[in-house]
């Protein structure tokens, strides 16, 4: 499936939770499949920290062939014949405000100054993103969504949709998510942010105007994040105590490698893996975006205005829910998904919940696990039945 992004312009100012206003903005969007005549088959996909509107399919090169490494981030889940079947559903991927993948964000020019927004880009929340997504649907002429779906931070947006626009969401699919972040989770985000902010190339967030990039900070932020997305078991299985990857081609050589007795050179494979991930990330991701998105994660807490009572907070939701968690996910643990399930049960809402015994930690929500993919497929096939009823 070859796909092409499109850009929607919005000239009506968007009021934000912080009190600031975004005067005008753009959202970059991809859609797959066809909107049916009664507009009852639209599915909105919300993305997580480092993803984008490019959910499924491939981009084309000049000759119209799929471009190498251009696969959408949830291409195993969404597409023709996939669990979220674009032969049946009209699927929308949208890049959130503050991102660095096309929608208005800190790398864009601030119309008030003519220089990049940088650190002056207003703080955006999950609720702000959902407001912007709702305006996108208005612009597309879609009143009601058959489903909203997302994993991790995308799951938070999905949950927020059911609370902010309860009458516009029929089904909510919330994967590997949480009703808010725990202190430990905020702590990880804070370490990542400090790594970025204390990079001498950060320049108070105005590095673009200074002609620099805080790559060192971004690398470390990504390394920390990456650790928390994996499980101990998977890391041990994948890397164990194997020594440096340069020798990985020859396992016997690896086994016989001697320690370098160096404190700064790469010694273990896990080190070179993390450094590689950090390097790659720092080349394409914007530091201010990282700060903004981790803050959006920290702030999300729908129960906050209900004295911490999630049951009261979710009383507004009208949608039917399907939640999925993964047993080895310690960043968004099953216990957090069960809190959402409990609040929905207290409100007598329709909800199903699958707790997948997968080894891959938080990353599992992006990976192929037959039980997970089949469950989502079953839910969407039932959604169709529900839609027809």
């Amino acid at each position: 499936m070859i796909v092409t992004p499109q850009t929607f312009h919005f000239s009506e100012p968007l009021p934000l939770r912080s009190g600031a206003t975004l005067p005008a903005y753009e959202l970059v969007v991809e859609t797959y499949g066809t909107l049916n005549a009664d507009q009852s088959n639209a599915v909105l996909i919300c993305h997580a920290l480092n993803a984008s509107h490019h959910v499924a399919g491939w981009y084309a090169d000049e000759s119209g062939q799929p471009l190498a490494r251009s696969e959408g981030w949830w291409n195993n889940m969404i597409g023709p014949g996939k669990p979220v079947d674009t032969d049946r559903y009209f699927v929308i991927g949208v890049n959130n405000l503050g991102s660095c993948f096309g929608s208005t964000g800190p790398t864009h020019l601030n119309p008030a100054t003519g220089t990049p927004w940088g650190a002056d880009f207003p703080v955006v929340t999950v609720e702000d993103w959902v407001d912007a997504q709702a305006r996108l649907l208005d612009a597309m002429g879609i009143q009601t969504l058959a489903a909203v779906m997302g994993g991790s931070l995308g799951g938070m947006q999905t949950l927020s949709w059911t609370l902010q626009y309860p009458e516009r969401v029929r089904h909510a699919v919330v994967v590997a998510s949480a009703p808010n972040l725990t202190a430990e989770n905020i702590a990880f985000n804070e370490v990542a942010r400090r790594a970025i902010v204390t990079d001498p190339d950060f320049h108070g967030g105005h590095y673009l105007s200074e002609g620099t990039l805080p790559r060192r900070g971004l690398r470390i932020a990504r390394m920390i994040g990456h650790i928390t997305y994996l499980s101990d078991d998977v890391m041990n299985e994948k890397f164990g105590r194997s020594l440096r990857s340069s020798d990985a081609e020859d396992p016997t050589a690896t086994a016989e490698l001697a320690y370098r007795y160096s404190t700064q050179e790469v010694e273990f494979q896990i080190e070179s893996y993390l450094r590689y991930q950090g390097d790659k990330f720092s080349e394409y991701f914007d530091a201010n975006t990282y700060l903004l998105i981790t803050r959006a994660l920290d702030y999300f807490d729908p129960a906050r205005s209900f004295d911490g009572n999630l049951t009261a907070a979710l009383a507004r939701a009208q949608a039917k829910f399907f939640l999925v968690s993964f047993t080895t996910d310690w960043r968004f643990s099953p216990a957090r998904s069960r809190e959402i399930v409990k609040a929905l049960l207290d409100n007598q809402r329709d909800v199903s919940y699958a707790e997948i015994d997968a080894p891959h930690g938080h990353d599992a929500f992006l990976l192929d696990d037959a039980r997970y993919l089949q469950a989502v497929r079953a839910y969407f096939e039932q959604t169709i039945a529900g839609t027809r009823a």
């Binding site: 399930v341 049960l345 329709d350 199903s352 699958a354 707790e355 039932q382």
Partner: protein, 193 residues
């Protein structure tokens, strides 16, 4: 015994329109049956991946939870009826779960294989553990870790202050109300707290 007579017998114990929690709901057939024939609503609880998927394919609400972790997710009297159909015998914490069933539901319905059914007694008299249609496992590989009788359950229910509203045996799809402890392979109880 076949599924259908058990389902019908259980369905008769569930008031129409009830909110139901089905503990160990299997493939969701009973919940589906209660929804379509008795206008019930509710949720199944199941731990097995394949059975959870089967429930989802039926469009039955299913929660993948381990009953050994208790029912803390469910509030007091949150359901009109809580079902434990062929579930009790698999639970390590069977007594706790019985109390929890009574807490969460206004009515509890429990069905389990009756070890005192006469063919089982014959097996034991001959010095061997029973292997029957209803108890098809060998002693060393049975998932039924709690083996009890119709009469045993009455004692347990009394001990936990439960009121037995109805009880009978099921044999070959028929209700057995005379000597159910001897004459039926399945024991069925409806109780309240």
């Amino acid at each position: 015994m076949s599924e259908k007579p058990l389902m019908d017998a259980i369905a008769r114990l569930v008031p129409p329109g009830s909110r139901v929690l089905d503990l160990g709901c299997g493939d969701g057939a009973l919940l589906d049956h209660l929804q379509s024939t008795r206008a019930c609503s509710g949720y199944g609880v199941e731990i097995d991946d394949a059975k959870v998927l089967a429930c989802m394919r039926r469009g039955v609400n299913v929660l993948q939870l381990n009953l050994e972790d208790g029912l803390t997710m469910f509030g007091d009297n949150a359901f009109d009826v809580v079902l434990q159909i062929d579930t009790l015998q698999h639970l390590r914490n069977a007594e706790t779960m019985l109390r929890e069933t009574a807490r969460v539901g206004r009515l509890g319905v429990v069905a389990f294989p009756n070890f005192a059914h006469w063919p089982n007694r014959l097996h034991v008299l001959q010095g061997r553990m029973p292997v029957t249609k209803r108890l098809p496992y060998q002693w060393y590989d049975t998932p039924n870790i709690r083996v009890g009788t119709h009469a045993d359950f009455e004692v347990l229910a009394r001990r936990n202050g439960l009121t037995i509203e109805d009880s009978f045996g099921l044999q070959e799809g028929r209700e057995v109300r005379v000597l159910p402890n001897l004459m039926a392979s399945t024991a069925v109880f409806r109780f309240s707290s």
